[in-house]
Symmetry: C2
DNA sequence: TGGCGCCGCACAAACGATTACGTCAATCGT
DNA sequence: ACGATTGACGTAATCGTTTGTGCGGCGCCA
C-alpha cells in the first residue's frame, strides 16, 4: 500500500499548502516546541498529512545537510564472545531508545583489522565510535584521538582515554579475599590476553590482595593465553602438567574456567575439594553447568548502555569522565561444596 | 592531519582542472573500466589527487542521489546466542568484503519488537533485510513481502520465503540413526521454541527416522521450551521428574544439552551409560566441557555468508532459491564412553 | 569530401532535508 | 499614535554525488 517512491516533505508541503520550510520545522521540533514555528492548525494539518502518507524522513538527505548521521560504530574483538555480545546489546538498546543506529563489527583483536574496520566506519560517517577491543600496547587509539574522532572505550581500558568499564582490580580482590577465607594459598591464574586490561587488572587485583595477606603468587602460576574455553583448557594443561598442583584456579573468564574444568576432571582432581575454581563475568552457563561456578558478576549490559550514553554526552559537547562499575562476588559450588 | 572538512569530488575537480562529472565517473568505474570516461593522464591525475587528499566518498550524498544505501539490516532473536552471533559474523564478513555495511539488532522473538525494529531499519533506508528470527505462525513476513521489501531468511525457515538454512530434518535423522545404532530406543527431545522451524524440524527428523525403524516417540517425551541452558535444564527436570527415564536425550541446542547435563548429574544418572546425550550446532563448548558432547555440526558461518550473498543476488535482480546446507554428526563422549 | 561514430569531456538538474534570512501582518508598550 | 516586537511563514542556498544530455574534434570509410 505504501507508494513506491516514499513521501517527502515537499509532498506534505503541497498537500497542506505551506512551504517545505514549515514542514521541516514542525516535524523536527515535534517533541520540543510543536507550536514554536506554526499555528496549531498548520501543525495539525502537517502531522495528519505525514501520518496518512506514512512519511518517513530520509536520513541520508538529513545527514548530508547537517553532517550528523546519528550513527555510531562499535568495534569488538568478537561477537561470538558472550561478554562482548552482551555489552553490545546494552549499547544497541540504549541507542535504539534515542533513535540512533549502530554498526558492530569484529576486529578479532588484530591491529590491521582494527584499523581497516575503523576506517570503514568513519567512511560511513559515524558520529562517534565505541571500542571494546582496546589494546594496552598499541598506539592506534592515540592516533585516532589525534584526529579528533570522538570515541569511548568499554570492557577494556587503555591510556587516559574515556572508558566505561568494570572495576577489574576490585574484581580480582574479591576473588582473592574469597579464596583466602577458604584457606587457599596456592592459586594459579588463567590471565587471558596480555594486552587486555581486563585480564591484566583482574590478575593484578588478586596478586595485590594476596601480597597484602602475605602470600606471593609466583610468576609460573600465571598463564596468559586468551579468554575462551580452548585457551582455558590449554592454560590449565600447562599448569597441571606436573605437581605440585595449586589448590585454587582463578580464570579471568567463565569460559576459560569451563575449559579448565575438563582438565581437572581428566587429572582426577575434585572440585572444590582438591582445587577451588573461580570464573569471571557470571555467564548464564556458570549456573547451569554440572558443578556450578563461583564467579564475579560484572554489569555487562549496563556497561554497554553507559558507554553509549557517555559517547552521546561527549558528542553533545558535555564534559565526560571514565567510569568503573562495581563487580560482585557470586559464590557457588566450585569453591564451596554443598 | 586530515582536513576538518573532508575532501569532496569538487575539490578534486578543481585541483585537477576537470569537471566534477569526470571525477565522479573515474572514481566509480575505477575497478571496471578505468579509461572508459577519461584519458589515462586524467585518470592518473584524479587518482593521485584523491589519494593525496585522502578522499572518501560521502555515502549519504551518494545514497540520496541513487536511492541505494549499500546497507542491509539483520534481525536476530538474540545476539547473546552463540549460534546467531556466528551467523551474523558470517553475514558481516561477506558484507564487508563487498563494501556494504550491516545493522544488527535483537527482536527477542517478540512480534512487536520484530515490527518496530524492522521499521527502523526501513527508515534507515536499508536495501534489504535478513531475518534470523522467523516465526512459523506469524503473518509478519507475508506482510512485509507484500510491501516488496527484499529479504531472505536464515537459521529458520518460514512459508515459501527464500531461506538459507541448515537441513534440520537431515540433522534430526542423523541423530536418530546414531542413537538407534547404539540401541537406544526411548528418547526424550528438548525441542526448543515451538514457532522456530529449527527445533521443529530437528524434532521431526528424529521422530520420522525412529518411526521408520518401528519406534514411536510419544508426545510426552517432547518438551518445547527454548534453546538456552536454563530452558534445557527446566525441560530436563520435567522429563526426569519421575521414572521411567528415557535412555537418551536429544537437545536441539548445545546449550540446552548443557543445562540438561546438570539435571542428569543431580539425578545420579551417568552419561552415556544410563542416558546418552546429544546436542546441536557443535558449539566450541561441546568439545571443552567435562563430558564432551556428541552433537550436530551446522555450518553457521557459511550460512550467514550465503544468506548475505543470496540477498545481494536478489537485489541485483537475479533469480534466487532457498538453500539448505548439510549438517554433520560429530560423535563424542556423551553418547559413546571412552 | 561528406557523413558517421567514437573520444574526452562539461553542463546542469536532480536527490530530500535544513537553515540563515527575509517579509508581512497584528499586537504592544508608552 | 508610532516604533518595536512577535507570530507565522516563505525564499533560496546548500550539503556531495550521480547521470542524461550536449558538444567539439578527430579518424575513417565510401
Amino acid at each position: 500500500m505504501t507508494a513506491r517512491r516514499p513521501m517527502t516533505q515537499r509532498m506534505i508541503a503541497e498537500r497542506v499548502g505551506v512551504s517545505i520550510t514549515t514542514v521541516s520545522r514542525v516535524l523536527n521540533d515535534r517533541e520540543t516546541e510543536p507550536g514554536r514555528w506554526a499555528s496549531s492548525e498548520t501543525v495539525a494539518a502537517i502531522m495528519a498529512a505525514a501520518r496518512e502518507g506514512g512519511y518517513r524522513r530520509n536520513p541520508h538527505a538529513a545527514s548530508l545537510r547537517t553532517s550528523r548521521s546519528d550513527l555510531v560504530g562499535v568495534l569488538v574483538p568478537r561477537l561470538q564472545d558472550f561478554v562482548l555480545a552482551t555489552i553490545y546489546e546494552g549499547i544497541d538498546e540504549a541507542a535504539a531508545e534515542r533513535g540512533i543506529s549502530t554498526f558492530v563489527t569484529n576486529s578479532l583483536d588484530r591491529p590491521e583489522l582494527q584499523r581497516t574496520r575503523t576506517q570503514s566506519m568513519l567512511d560511513r560517517r559515524v558520529d562517534g565510535l565505541i571500542f571494546g577491543d582496546a589494546h594496552l600496547d598499541d598506539p592506534f587509539l592515540d592516533e585516532i584521538a589525534a584526529q579528533d574522532v570522538p570515541f569511548v572505550l568499554t570492557s577494556r581500558r587503555a591510556g587516559d582515554h574515556v572508558a566505561v568499564t568494570c572495576d577489574d582490580l576490585a574484581g580480582g580482590r574479591l576473588v582473592a579475599e574469597h579464596l583466602l577465607s577458604l584457606g587457599r594459598r596456592d592459586v594459579a591464574i588463567l590471565a587471558g590476553l596480555p594486552f587486555a586490561s581486563t585480564g591484566r587488572e583482574r590478575t593484578q587485583g588478586l596478586v595485590d590482595a594476596f601480597r597484602a595477606a602475605g602470600v606471593e603468587v609466583p610468576e609460573r602460576r600465571i598463564v596468559r593465553n586468551g579468554f575462551d574455553a580452548t585457551a582455558g583448557r590449554e592454560a590449565a594443561e600447562r599448569i597441571f602438567a606436573e605437581p605440585p598442583y595449586p589448590d585454587a584456579v582463578f580464570a579471568t573468564n567463565d569460559f576459560a574456567a569451563i575449559g579448565a574444568m575438563g582438565v581437572l576432571r581428566d587429572k582426577g582432581l575434585r572440585i572444590p575439594d582438591d582445587v577451588a575454581l573461580v570464573g569471571y563475568n557470571d555467564t548464564p552457563l556458570a549456573e547451569s553447568i554440572t558443578i556450578s561456578l563461583t564467579t564475579i558478576r560484572s554489569p555487562m549490559h549496563t556497561m554497554g548502555r553507559r558507554a553509549l550514553e557517555t559517547l552521546l554526552d561527549m558528542l553533545a559537547g558535555r564534559t565526560v569522565a571514565s567510569e568503573r562499575l562495581t563487580p560482585e562476588l557470586v559464590v557457588r559450588g566450585s569453591t564451596v561444596g554443598r
